[in-house]
Symmetry: none
Subunit: 405 residues, 2 copies
């Protein structure tokens, strides 16, 4: 039995980039350690969900960990709330929320409160409260965005939005969409009224009034869903799992799966992160658990920025960290390296292009691929869908059971 290190370079896959002479960032990057492991391991392409399906980081990480995304992905409300860093529990009801500006007649004047950029942390803090037996958590995100979470008995996402999705109309009351939603609707309407009052009197908004800036004086919410109960990772797979992720969304999913957090302090979810620290923490963590997922976000950030050069350079940074931390461990670990989806710099968005993957372990088959990239691995041993991955990692590590005799 070996232990498994799954390194997910977020958004790794790409398309030919003009600034890289028509090469993809992976093709152009100087990455001797990654290429060594790929050459001496097995390689291929992976469709995180299925060909043609554009994955989110949430649906792909769920799938990679062995959870059917079509069953456990319960919508943007709960998964964006996970991404806010709130420590959610199964059964919580979560919404995407906006700070908005309404007038004295409760008419929406700006759904984004002037794309407010400061003070939302203070405003959000003031909105945590208890209504009836229900705890309400509110957490700011980027600009006007936020997450609203209800935790209590007898709650349901079967309620209407209070976000009218347009401006110059009144904020509607929340109504239950079924008998189940009655309590939730009542609590949400009470939350709205109380939050109006709290926000109106808040220091942050008082300053905005003085400066004649749009006030963040109302909360609009939409896309409610229930935080899913993921079957426990250890019970499901028979091994202890851990994770290292600076990105709240990925961390939140791993936490819901009952995996242990080994994320070292000081890492970020961007290109300035300390990859060496992450990989060292992973090697250390694997003394305690059998499997660790390491998410490295910088590749995705560079892709969303449309910066193929930065993505190439960040891949080189990952490679140096692999060289420094993992090359001495390569004979005792199963090391898998892939992305959760492609984020082509030319698109600045996720795409359905399949993602290259290598799996290296002592004694494995060797595909002999010289340069690990989207094109070279096409003829490799592996042609996977995301839901194959855990099975393959477990069997590579001799931790899987035979199906039959």
């Amino acid at each position: 039995m070996m232990k498994v290190l799954l390194i997910i370079a977020d958004g790794l896959g790409d398309r030919p980039s003009p600034v890289l002479g028509g090469k993809t960032p992976l093709e152009a990057a100087i990455k001797p350690n990654i290429d060594y492991l790929a050459k001496n391991g097995i390689t291929g392409l992976i469709d995180p969900i299925a060909p043609g399906i554009i994955p989110g980081s949430d649906t792909s990480h769920l799938t990679y960990l062995g959870y059917d995304a079509y069953k456990y992905y319960t919508g943007r409300g709960p998964f964006e709330a996970l991404g806010s860093g709130l420590k959610l529990e199964p059964g919580d009801i979560a919404f995407r929320a906006n700070f908005a500006t309404v007038d004295g007649n409760n008419i929406v004047r700006d759904r984004r409160a002037g794309r407010i950029r400061s003070g939302t942390d203070l405003l959000a803090k003031s909105l945590n409260m208890k209504i009836e037996d229900t705890d309400i958590f509110f957490k700011e995100g980027i600009e006007h965005r936020a997450a609203l979470v209800l935790r209590g008995e007898g709650l349901s996402p079967e309620v209407s939005d209070n976000d009218p999705h347009e401006e110059n109309v009144a904020v509607p009351k929340v109504v239950p969409l079924s008998k189940k939603g009655e309590k939730t609707a009542r609590i949400l309407n009470e939350f709205y009224d109380r939050s109006r009052k709290i926000l109106n009197e808040h220091e942050v908004n008082r300053e905005k009034r003085e400066k004649s800036m749009p006030e963040a004086n109302a909360i609009l919410f939409r896309g409610g869903g229930v935080v899913p109960e993921l079957p426990n990772f250890e019970i499901k797979h028979g091994i202890k799992g851990g994770y290292i992720a600076a990105v709240s969304l990925v961390a939140g999913i791993c936490r819901l799966a009952g995996m242990k957090n080994f994320t070292p302090s000081g890492v970020t979810g961007s290109t300035d992160t300390n990859v060496v620290a992450k990989l060292k923490a992973a090697v250390e963590g694997l003394k305690e658990v059998d499997f660790i997922l390491v998410n490295i976000k910088g590749t995705d950030i560079a892709g969303h920025d449309g910066n193929g050069m930065k993505k190439k350079e960040f891949i080189e940074k990952i490679d140096r960290a692999i060289g420094e931390v993992l090359m001495n461990e390569k004979d005792s670990l199963v090391i898998a390296f892939t992305g959760d989806h492609s984020t082509p710099a030319s698109l600045k968005e996720h795409s359905s292009d399949p993602v290259p993957i290598f799996i290296h372990y002592k004694g494995s088959r060797r595909d002999g691929i010289e340069n690990f990239n989207e094109m070279s691995v096409r003829g490799g041993t592996l042609r996977l869908r995301g839901n194959d991955l855990m099975n393959l990692l477990l069997s590579s590590a001799n931790m899987a059971e035979k199906f039959g005799a």
Copy 2:
């Protein structure tokens, strides 16, 4: 967002052909335009249904358009009737039918009326009628083959055949196989009796009697099924779809899906068709809709004829048309080229061999395949099943929604 042109060269895939020096028609064909698009796009193999399943044109086109063939393919009756050119509606009950010869005691003497070759159009016309509230449509096919369609309230395919499937036995009465089939059985028996009379007195049969040829004096029918209600293409995929197809079966499926017909006049379903006119009509149609399927039948005809050379030459004809019409459009369209199945000339029938495919669009990955054929694309980016295709085309065109965030 780009628009999508899906070119289906019917029966495109093949096997090594002795008359082509052991090459497949695709391998042997001189096709610089197809090869250019393949080289600069992504390539691979597609199993229209699944490996080892021999597709019909009906089941593969259903699948490619995103409809589960195991759900919507309701049998040979309705789909052969679609192929007859009858404009069917969801809920119609359709049968495969034969012109047959019976004697005075209603004993089948020839199930195929001597493989009758002429006059069936006139005979068929005489059999359109109304019984009770039910409209009956009858359309001749090739030789003795025909389609019988019932349109009315309270009909069901749950009835027995009147085709005894052997000769020198009596034509049985149709019996209902369930309560639901009672009305249909009654109407079919009435149709049989009336058609016997009409055919007996028909000029065409009078001439046959004079020449002592077998008369087409009875209709045997079998394989009844209901014409399925396909979910509307535009509602299903969120885009407007059109089609160009000289083949009634393909046109009928697209029509049932609510797609718009852009088929130019004068095209045929054979190797003498005007491919340039089809592709020009497609480019023109894409000003109006987002997606057009073009079916080009000649490749399949040549395969069924066992004529690998003719298939190669027809592929070259398609290539010239692509060169003339599409090479100026290639940066603004997603161009996909594949077959709905393989029809190896050596088999003269469909086979389950996977079919090569390329997808070309500006900025795509490039597989660098030099000659587009069954063998060269094995190491390409794509390894698809038919039900992946629409998803992949939509995501290639940036018309798909992300699954998750």
